[in-house]
Subunit: 402 residues, 2 copies
Amino acid sequence: MAVGKGTFPALPAIEGVRLGTAMAGIKKPDRRDLVVIEIAPGATVAGTFTRNAFCAAPVHVAKRHLASETPRYLLINTGNANAGTGELGMRDAEASCAELGRLAEVAGTAVLPFSTGVIGEPLPMQRLLAGLPAALDSLAAGGWAAAAEGILTTDTRPKGATASVEIGGQTVTISGISKGSGMIQPNMATMLAFVATDASIAQADLEQWLREGVARSFNCITVDSDTSTNDACMLIATGQGPAVSAEDDVARFRAALDGVLVELAQAIIRDGEGATKFVTLDVSQARSRQEALDVAFTVAHSPLVKTALYASDANWGRILAAVGRAPVADFDVDRVVIDLGDVRLVEHGGRAASYTEEAGSAVMAGEEIAIRIRLGRGEADATVWTSDLSHEYVSINADYRS
Amino acid sequence: MAVGKGTFPALPAIEGVRLGTAMAGIKKPDRRDLVVIEIAPGATVAGTFTRNAFCAAPVHVAKRHLASETPRYLLINTGNANAGTGELGMRDAEASCAELGRLAEVAGTAVLPFSTGVIGEPLPMQRLLAGLPAALDSLAAGGWAAAAEGILTTDTRPKGATASVEIGGQTVTISGISKGSGMIQPNMATMLAFVATDASIAQADLEQWLREGVARSFNCITVDSDTSTNDACMLIATGQGPAVSAEDDVARFRAALDGVLVELAQAIIRDGEGATKFVTLDVSQARSRQEALDVAFTVAHSPLVKTALYASDANWGRILAAVGRAPVADFDVDRVVIDLGDVRLVEHGGRAASYTEEAGSAVMAGEEIAIRIRLGRGEADATVWTSDLSHEYVSINADYRS
């Protein structure tokens, strides 16, 4: 199941980036499961990674390699997360990088590894390494769609987003792909995202813009509150286009970049495991952004709210109860106002006088639902996106050994 | 669905307490939905209540009445929570107490109201008030089983526990009932519990023993992480039996009381909405009890862990990932040891070398599963009880307007 059509957009090539794929049979035969992204020299690259203490071997290795030099290749496999694999997993991740480096004539430390899929089984190294030449042979600037397919796990469809912006009379393009549909929560989800632009961006700027962009996109989505051991979001600036440094250019570029990150993050929720609804939670008038996020995530994680959404039931009592148990000090519930779409649901600590079941049901019948919660305590806000909790979610996760 | 047989025990009468019930047709006809508990003069009474900021009208009224005098009657209705009902709800709760007080010839403030059921609909006052005489007429010392039925909502069976202890050559008895199966989480669940003893206990002691007992029983269970707006646990000491004040007596009495509270709390989990597994999470070697609770609840709330439990899948990767994302500072995952029953699952940051799928599956096949997590950081521990996440949970909560 998935919300909306989710058509994969035409992703323009990014000068300085080529993508190749192979069918290596890592978990299943006859599917793209190995992706190589080649980055031309002269680029800057930034990354954000899972904060799960049990992070996977490739995360350790990717962070170390990224700190040591600017990467020339990203190597991604699906079908196996190489997580919970101890010392063997570290050696396998290093060996994958070393072999790709040997074939491509760069140092192994210029390769970053990414893995997604089943936890706790050793990487099938023989099949993975055997697939590398084919992936390299297929490198092409137009390889985005194939790469978007090659990184999927339980996703039902590939995810991409693009934007362009004029900088100094030249067009700068941003293209990105993402994957993930389960184990999705703040602080990076079971998700991978690879975004590239042909702009020229200083390393420190790139890192800051990615960090702040991720905080308002991938770190604001939740399917099921679980954080994966393997999450990563990479941002590549190939430097083949104009520099983004003038204040006005930075603002426009960052707006476009944030738009791509939010679109890629939302695509993960729309394709959330068993999702039948796409839900936007807007919390405003909080004392701090953290407080707004706490309220939004408490509602977004509530199984009772999520099953009511699945049932298209405007069960405002469950939303109200979830808001009421959020970790907020000195909470004056009489000031809380909750709207469901354009319908006033809650005010003065109870159901709004103007509320009717018919009006609530009309909003809930849609696939895309907005819940707006005003706390009446301050001026901070946060937006979080989530999905509902369906029978199919249980089926997927009770049957699939992820 | 429910775990185990859950036979309702024979609950001994408590001198000084009588219980009556009626079928008032509050939500449905022909079911016990009104319960009155009469407390003879001379008792001490303590209560703990939900911490949900949106707490229901009867919670506000019960707390106020309890602070003003020792209650003579508890009035409980199921079928309607009188929550999210604003000023009307407060007036209805007060009026219920006043009418019971009038009939029983006590002050309205000597009555504590409790409501459970659907949120956001006004109490059907006419039917409720009309049921009071029948409930009073049926007051009997042996009314525990009928009362246990009369407080249920989505529960599939009544819940009771009893214990006795010798104090100064006399037998002191503790009897209690509880209800709740959804919206169950720490800081009181959608649960009501009423426990009485014939012992004589000073008010300050009673309050402390209840507070500390609830912290290790009802506040350590979670079905779905949602806190109800109506939770309450009441402890009555009728004072008809011997005083519990000598140090040794206190220790034995409190052990018996804690046993009753834990049994009533566990009964709620065994009857958790859609529950097919009863899961004990023991976290030890934490730096503080809060840290141990944080880890235990992170695992207990993980939908991925809960669906794996439902599938009887020893998916240690999901447990490990949940432990890894718990809010613990400077987490050295190499020191974490996880056992599933008697089977070593995780050590040194990955799957235990001795682990086999066969051994894990054998443990997961049972209805009662123990997961022990040693953090290797300190000496504090915590035990939390939870259930799995099944298709029936989704069905119950997508269909039932609670």
